[in-house]
Amino acid sequence: MKDILILGIETSCDETAAAVVKNGREILSNIINSQINIHSQFGGVVPEVASRKHIENIAVVVDAAFREAGLTYSDIDAVAVTNRPGLIGALLVGLSFAKSFAYALQRPLLAVNHLEGHIYANCLDHSDIELPAICLVVSGGHTSLLYMSSIGEYELIGQTRDDAAGEAFDKVARFLGLGYPGGPAIQKAAEKGKSGKVVLPRVYLDRNDFEFSFSGLKTASMNEWNKLKRKGMADVNDLAAEFQAALVEVLVEKTIQAAAKHKVRSVLMAGGVAANQELRNLMKNRGQELGLAVYYPSLSLCTDNAAMIAGNAYISYIRGDFAPLNVNAYPGLLSL
């Protein structure tokens, strides 16, 4: 069978990314225009909401993806692009570029849900995942549990009611003066500290559903920090360790519960927070105890990238599920 080469484009938030993936498996190139160094000086992400940066970057990034893959434009079989969810202006840059590219080359266009892309990142690293599975998507903007019956078939079973897990990491890290990005900063501090010395709440909400809430943990962490400082007993590493432990425990236990309730044997993690070592370890350990196979992508595929978009689009390509050239971009999570 002929190899299928798909160009993937991702501009849903801060990163301008392009990649070429062969047969939904083999990454030939994976280019990300990361702005992380510039972000650090502000203690927050500089979003390219404005889309201006995406416009400046996109042609360069796509060219780099072709160059690294050693391909010319006409070698690809389809163009895949994230069209939801995300910042609308940012999404539109990628979508418009992808449409023009597909039209000019007379290749089909494939529209990809960003979250499905994140989950598919697992399939780029592992070819033996038993489905159905429970998927935990955790990032700066998302904390969602999904039931995945097959690739491309998802049911949203729970989300955060306030802050996303990655957002809590970022905000608490900033409050503790640990810098940005918050996930790695807290993980590093936590390694030098010990959880349990201060006690932060594990917020489970209703034990029977799969909803999350991290706003209370964020506030409790900041409150504890203020109190410790007043007493002159502030150890940032211990607090970071407890915060991380509290957040990770809830993520893991809710995911495990969901796996039990839906009687699946696989758990998939995805998104930037899935790069957290504590989360990976605890999920793996709990999974082993219960006979669950736990998967997470390699670190570089956890954060936003276009390889996951090109990979996921292969499934649509095989099914002939092409997007019309007037397909729109949608900011919300709806209709995942």
């Binding site: 404005a50 889309s51 306030d162 802050d163 964020k218 409150n223 900011p331």
Partner: protein
Amino acid sequence: MLITVYSEEEMISLGGLLARVLEKNDVVYLIGELGAGKTTLVRGIARGLGYTGRVTSPTFTLMNIYAADIKIFHFDFYRLQGNDLADLGLEEYLEKDGLSLIEWPQVADNLLPPEALLVNIELVEEDYERERLVTVSARGQRYQAKVEELRGIC
């Protein structure tokens, strides 16, 4: 005017009262540090306007839209600090066909309408477990009238 709020439930109720004086095309600035209760107040306003769905922090997405009785644009400029925001496209939303509730407006000060309802949420002695002091004030006459209206129902 100053309102003391003792719990999350009271913050939601205050949002309900604010909802009664707010209308389409109004702009509300929500000021207060991390964890002060800005998003909770927005949830209260949305509930007051008949929206029962999820009201989450828009820190990452920058803007959430809620299909309440009137459309609500929930902005959060927290992570834009120190940036040029001229290209944000805010003019697409502000004072158009919905109510704009804006967290961290100070970040985009020069790009936002000069007239607005100002809600300032303060902690007491940096203690998150204690009450919040909420000050509602007006920038501009139209909003002054709303403050008076709120005083009447509080």
